[in-house]
């Protein structure tokens, strides 16, 4: 006697056609899956590109003497700036995500760091040092960027790091170095010195360096940052400097605390001292 190996026998199936119909989505999804997995693009959106950064000084602004509002003819004889990192931001997102919950930092003021709303598109972390009297563009190296619209740049005026010897030499270890002379009615004042920025993120950052409307990071784009030192000394009160005791070696040393230092600090930190273009 044959042992039955099945507990179930066959019934005529009035619903076989339904099974066939429902099998079609299975096949479709399977085929789509196979096709999709062969694609090189994962569909997560966005693309990263590597772009070169060129940095240049608008040296012609300081090549010749400039007359200040106080009537002094100021000639910058040497100037250098060390800066970085750079953070590039896109336009604030129209539908930015809302955090489900955030640990709330205590703030005394209304909150100035509005860059939280803007998506970061790229960053260049390596320090950059620039001789502001040299007209040549320098290659600051490549950086990784997200493709898409760019609206503004933030520049952090960090002091040169210990390992950035070239930058440190150029700025004599400061964030910025400047030397020159001011002349008025036959009186010549020589000045030289360096400036470091306060070690507070918001105080050493130049924000909202705007790029033209519609600029985008894309494959093959050229990114150019121009430093404009022409107006750095615009607010310096050379009359006040002239009234101060003469320096022992005939060169006024610029350093905090002084009005010269304050004016230079505000001048460098003005977003109009920088210009960004993306071609």
């Amino acid at each position: 006697m044959k042992t039955r190996t099945t507990l179930y026998a066959t019934l005529p199936n009035p619903k076989a056609s339904l099974g066939n119909f429902l099998l079609h989505p299975l096949a479709t999804l399977g085929i789509m899956g196979l096709l999709a997995s062969c694609s090189e693009s994962s569909g997560t959106g966005g693309r990263q590109v590597v772009l070169p950064l060129q940095v240049v000084s608008r040296s012609e602004e300081i090549a010749a003497p400039r007359i200040t509002s106080g009537g002094w003819s100021v000639q910058i004889e040497s100037a250098a700036l060390a800066f970085g990192p750079l953070y590039f931001y896109g336009p604030p997102r129209s539908t930015p995500n809302t955090p489900a919950f955030t640990p709330a930092p205590r703030r005394a003021h209304a909150g100035d760091d509005n860059l939280q709303m803007a998506p970061i598109m790229a960053e260049h972390l390596s320090p950059i040092a620039l001789d502001l009297r040299a007209p040549e563009e320098i290659d600051a190296g490549d950086f990784l960027a997200k493709e898409g619209a760019v609206q503004s740049l933030s520049i952090v005026l960090d002091a040169p790091r210990a390992n950035a010897t070239q930058a440190a030499d150029m700025t004599r270890g400061y964030s910025a170095w400047i030397a020159g002379r001011a002349e008025k009615e036959g009186r010549v004042l020589r000045f030289a010195g360096g400036i470091d920025f306060p070690d507070t993120p918001l105080k050493r950052r130049v924000d909202e360096v705007r790029v033209r409307e519609g600029a985008t990071f894309r494959e093959g784009a050229r990114v150019r940052l121009e430093v404009r030192p022409g107006a750095w000394l615009e607010q310096v009160d050379f009359d006040l400097l002239a009234a101060s005791p003469a320096p022992p070696e005939g060169v006024y040393a610029i350093g905090a605390p002084s009005q010269f230092w304050n004016a230079l600090f505000l001048g460098i930190r003005n977003p109009q001292s920088f210009a960004l273009s993306i071609e």
Partner: protein, 869 residues
Amino acid sequence: MALAAYAAPVAAQEPPPSPPRLDESGAPPPQPLPEVDGKVELLFDLLVDAEGQVRQARLLECECEDDRREALALAAWEHLSSLRFLPARHQGRARSARLQYRVRFPSAHEAASDLATTNAATNERIRTTAPTTPKESELGGRGLREIKRGKRNGPFGAKATVKSRIAEQDPVSIGDQEIELGNLRRVPRSDAQSLLTLAPGILLTNYGGVGHPSTMYLRGFDAAEGEDLEMKLEGIPLNEVSNAHGHGYADTLFIMPELVRSLRVTQGPFDPEQGNFAVAGSAEYRLGLRKRGIHVLSAYGTYQRRRLALWWAPQGQSEGTFVGVSLQAGDGFGPNRAFANATAIGQYEGYLQGKKWRYRLLAFGAMGRWDNAGVLRADDFEARRLPCAGSQDAQFFCTYDPNQGGSSARVGISPSLRWQSANELAELGLFGMGRNLRVQENFTGFLNDPRTDGGAQRGDNLDQQYNATTLGFRSRYRRRWQWLDHEQYTEVGAYMRYDDADTAIDRRRRELNVPYATDFRRRIRETNVAAYLRSDLRLLEWFALSGGVRADMFGFHVRDRNRPAEDRLGPRLPYENSDAYGVALQPRGTLRFIPRPGLEWLVSAGVGARSSDAAALSQDEFAPFTRVTSFETGPLLRRAGSTSSRGIPSYKLEARSSIFFTRVERDLVFDANAGRNSLSGPSHRSGWMAFGRFAWRDWFDLQASLTYTRAHLPPEGASTFDLFAGPRLPFVPEWLARLDAAAQKEFQLWGQDWTLSGALGLAFVGRRPLPFDQYADPWFVVDASTGLRWRWIELSLIAENLLDARYRQAEFNYASNFNDPSSAPSRLPARHFAAGPPFQLMAQLTLHLDFDGRAKRPPSPAQHREETR
């Protein structure tokens, strides 16, 4: 077997209707069952067709233990299917007819020849029924009862329906599986959570070290450590509410894998019993130990991994009575990965009044301590900048911050009671747990220090603490009733859970690992009350409908202990209380099309919900839920061969396939810019799954699955049915394939019986989508084990990642700065990964001490053939 029947006088012109009569000449008696003491009698309702063959057998009564019912009924069916009857006759024609028939299995000492007489006497007074017309129903005596069968007077397909006193529900979806571990437990898996990979489409990735649960991916969801997957142990909820590490964190690592009998995995929210966190699905661990006796295990492996385990199950007690203890420790496969843990679990299961009352008491306790290497920046690894000695492997397994790791402790107890009768089943279970957890991890290095004085970053090591007490109960009542000639079921359930938890995150300084700031510190009291109603209706032979609704209500009370000591009006107390509540209604239903027994087509739909993290709620807020709507459809095939006396079918085959789709409202998606989860609007998760399992007796077991999933963020205005609209969510695995196989063979050597066993686990993870339209490399991992057993001694070798593949188990994308804290911080999201474990080998010695001598070795193939003849 003789069958007595009573004929009734009818009109003289026509012969009276006659019931079926057993053709005793060809009726062999049922064989005694060696495992059974004393007599076993089963009463069946048989349908005998017009050819005299038994077409349908429905078990009405069984004087036997519950866990033997199915095996005995199958053995009885073996006998019944061999019977031949002289068919019932009416109006000169052979007809199909129903009759009640009692099958009695003799005890081993009864002679087979006595059976016919004995059974004939037993069946003398059996009533018989036959189809008649109403006017001819009078047969005198006990009469013949009329059966209205409509169109069913002719022969039709047969089936044997084996039922216990009251049946549990059928699968609510294709993704609803009760996975018996069986021999597949030999496939190397280091902990109970890894058993989840026996279900199709589940991927586990661990970035937190041994002792920290793995992140789970299924159905297109990143379920984190339990955020989207409801986890239970014998009905005890394991997801932790408002855990500082993650809302829904569920730790199953304290469960000893040796004590797991089966795993019920339900992918998708289709069962009204599924509760909070069942967004992607649910998983429930069911414990039991079939192999009785004392088992002692000692293991030692690479990287100083060592394990001692002891578990025992007294003879004569049910499978639900056992105790297990496990201790293990190791140095880890790389720097900062050492671990140590211990667990103890015990359960007693007893019965009263036969099997009418079942009571259980489950208790467990566990502790663990582990170090964690954390994640690495991919660019640092590729540039070999990591702070470990220069080889590729040293870099791959490196760590940035040695102050990462954690500790865990828990204790729990759960008594439960079940009562059942012929048509009712009622259950009540209580549970109470205590829990301490501490996890230290550093994902971002030196980036997020909230200091405002411009000083150097002190470090982002987060010390996450969670201490909770959980109390609750669950209850259900299941009722069987008849309608449309089928058994129908209605079930109601209630659930209550109360959590009292302290949760906090402190920030720790890299130097000296001391806390310097508190992100938050809260006490949370959360209450969940739920009820559900379900009906399982069999409307036609080929069509069934299940459905129901679940209602959950949550109450939240939060005491924020980290508020400032003054505000704009002056001094204030540094804490604040708030209360909120929420309600979620979740309907769920399934259509089952059964063209033939063993083959079904299921269409399932359901709504699932996850409660809010209490930290995100405000006073009087009507708590929002993450709500999902899921759909799944596909075929399910299940077949089994004849069953031996030991209840082992000659073979079992299972195959299932489905397409599934889930729409999530108010989804939480990781925002790389913000570095935390943010609400991102709806998302679509869809895919396809195929699964098969074949087991040949208990010698060979093979299971394979293939899954394809996609997750997308549809743009505003996109239709619900536009599955692939919008950008794809990264990190959700696309193709997943898994194969588990186990085999064993007996052989003779030197006059002794030996058993050789082997097991293999293959896991393939296809390219995972990454941000910026990129893909991660696929990975393929092989685990294998082999064992040799002689009498009660078993020696095994267990190998994990046999091919020593180097793979990035977990991948992330966010901004971090692991350089000098005073250096320029990176704000651009970058890729990070956690290394998967390399090749690891463990030698294991197990002693199986069965002092009654019965279970000294598994049965030989010869024994199996005898049993199924």
